[in-house]
């Protein structure tokens, strides 16, 4: 298979074998090669893709998305919301304002949830890393199943008519908003192409700056596992022989507020030692889609029952997807 990053691979091999005189089969040699190949590969992918995605994102303001999704009560709304969630950035700190903003504008509850699940789960950092570490096919499966899960969960929540479990003040705010003129207190500043590129350059470098220590650290740990950990240990606990690996990985991942950039390189090493890819993908979904801080924040707008339904539905969905992955891959 053609590997566009072959130059990094070649360079890593040269450094390990020629400069250090180590065999690629030795523990240290294998670790070093893993590290020297993955670091430039992942960082390059990260910069390029976050720049491209950042440019696209300058066209997608939340207000526009909210207007697109407003009033779309059918499953088409869930599909649109989940697809749009792929490209838009998501910060846990915006979860509440975004949730309120969507509901105020008449976006149905279920459709809002489809967006809330898809946006953090399918983010450019996770996609870049999955692609760089596991290849395009795995990445597309992750995106496909992630979007499917977002659509299904959001649709189910919509059908269950759980509006009464949203904190009442949110509906009060909606009434207030509808009495005001829309966008009455805003000055829109339209962007030129230069400004768009400035913005995407800025957001790409911000992502890079905040993520690179985790990537390098994660790859270092992964390199250690790759070179030194015995495969039998990994396959015993997380391998195909353990049917509970998927639920355990998911339940561990759900409350975690970990930087996926550091976690994924470690999982690559575990996969090489025999951990099934489906278990890894479930873990990735669980870490990105939900986190304890996000749940605490969402509690401000969701009553406990709705929060529990949301978390349980997504968790069960991720576990099912994990088993499905392991069956397919």
């Amino acid at each position: 298979m053609f590997d566009p990053f072959y130059p990094f691979d070649w360079l890593a091999i040269q450094i390990v074998t020629q400069l250090f005189g180590l065999s690629l089969k030795s523990h240290l040699g294998a670790s070093l090669h893993f590290f020297l190949y993955d670091v430039p590969k992942i960082l390059t992918l990260l910069l390029t893709i976050s720049f491209l995605v950042g440019t696209v994102q300058t066209f997608l303001q939340p207000e526009k998305i909210r207007n697109w999704l407003g009033g779309k009560r059918t499953i088409f709304g869930n599909i649109l919301a989940a697809l749009v969630g792929i490209i838009t950035p998501f910060c846990s700190c915006s979860a509440v304002p975004l949730f309120i903003g969507f509901l105020e504008a008449g976006v149905p509850l279920g459709v809002t949830f489809s967006y809330l699940i898809s946006a953090p789960m399918v983010n450019e950092v996770a996609v870049v890393l999955l692609w760089g570490l596991f290849g395009l096919k795995v990445t597309l499966l992750y995106i496909g199943f992630g979007v499917g899960l977002a659509i299904a969960s959001g649709f189910i929540i919509g059908q269950l008519r759980l509006e009464q479990w949203v904190e009442p003040f949110v509906w009060e705010l909606q009434k207030v908003r509808q009495n005001e003129s829309p966008d009455g207190n805003e000055i829109e500043i339209p962007m030129t192409w230069t400004q768009r590129f400035q913005q995407s350059q800025y957001s790409a470098s911000e992502i890079f700056k905040s993520v690179w220590p985790y990537v390098v650290g994660g790859i270092a740990i992964g390199a250690g596992i790759h070179g030194y950990a015995p495969a039998e240990l990994i396959t015993h606990w997380a391998g195909r022989g353990n049917p509970l690996a998927v639920p355990i990985a998911t339940i561990i991942g759900v409350p975690l507020y970990a930087n996926i950039a550091g976690v994924l390189p470690i999982t690559e090493a575990l996969v090489n030692k025999g951990m099934p890819l489906g278990t890894v993908l479930s873990f990735t979904m669980a870490v990105t889609a939900l986190s304890l801080p996000e749940m605490v924040i969402l509690r401000k707008v969701l009553r406990p029952q709705l929060l529990m339904v949301f978390i349980s539905l997504v968790t069960l969905g991720i576990i099912s997807v994990g088993y499905l992955f392991n069956a397919i891959l």
Binding site: Q61, P62, E63, R66, P89, C91, S92, C93, S94, A95, V96, P97, L98, I100, G101, F102, E104, F169, L173, R177, D183, N185, E186, I187, I189, Q199, Y202, S203, E206, S210, I297, K300, V301
Partner: protein, 80 residues
């Protein structure tokens, strides 16, 4: 000239703090009188019609949403 009322809207993640810093730097460079409030309560933020943080409001009007801008880009907004 009465002082400008500035609100930095953000729940405390790194981007929001960066915008706050940039606002302080812009004010210092221009040497103007300004009252800066950092709003962290997500519900207060939502009430102002903002859906993605960080955001910047000057004298009650939201001018920047969902991104951090540099002090040099903030200065013209404060002067007008």
């Amino acid at each position: 000239m009465s002082s400008i009322k500035i609100e930095v809207l953000g729940s405390g993640c790194k981007k929001c703090q960066q915008l706050n810093e940039n606002v302080q730097r812009a004010i210092a460079s221009l040497g103007i009188e300004a009252e800066v409030r950092h709003i962290t309560d997500p519900i207060e933020i939502a009430k102002r019609g903002v859906m993605s943080t960080p955001a910047l409001a000057i004298n009650g009007k939201v001018v920047i949403k969902g991104r951090v801008i540099l002090p040099e880009q903030i200065q013209p907004l404060l002067s007008s």
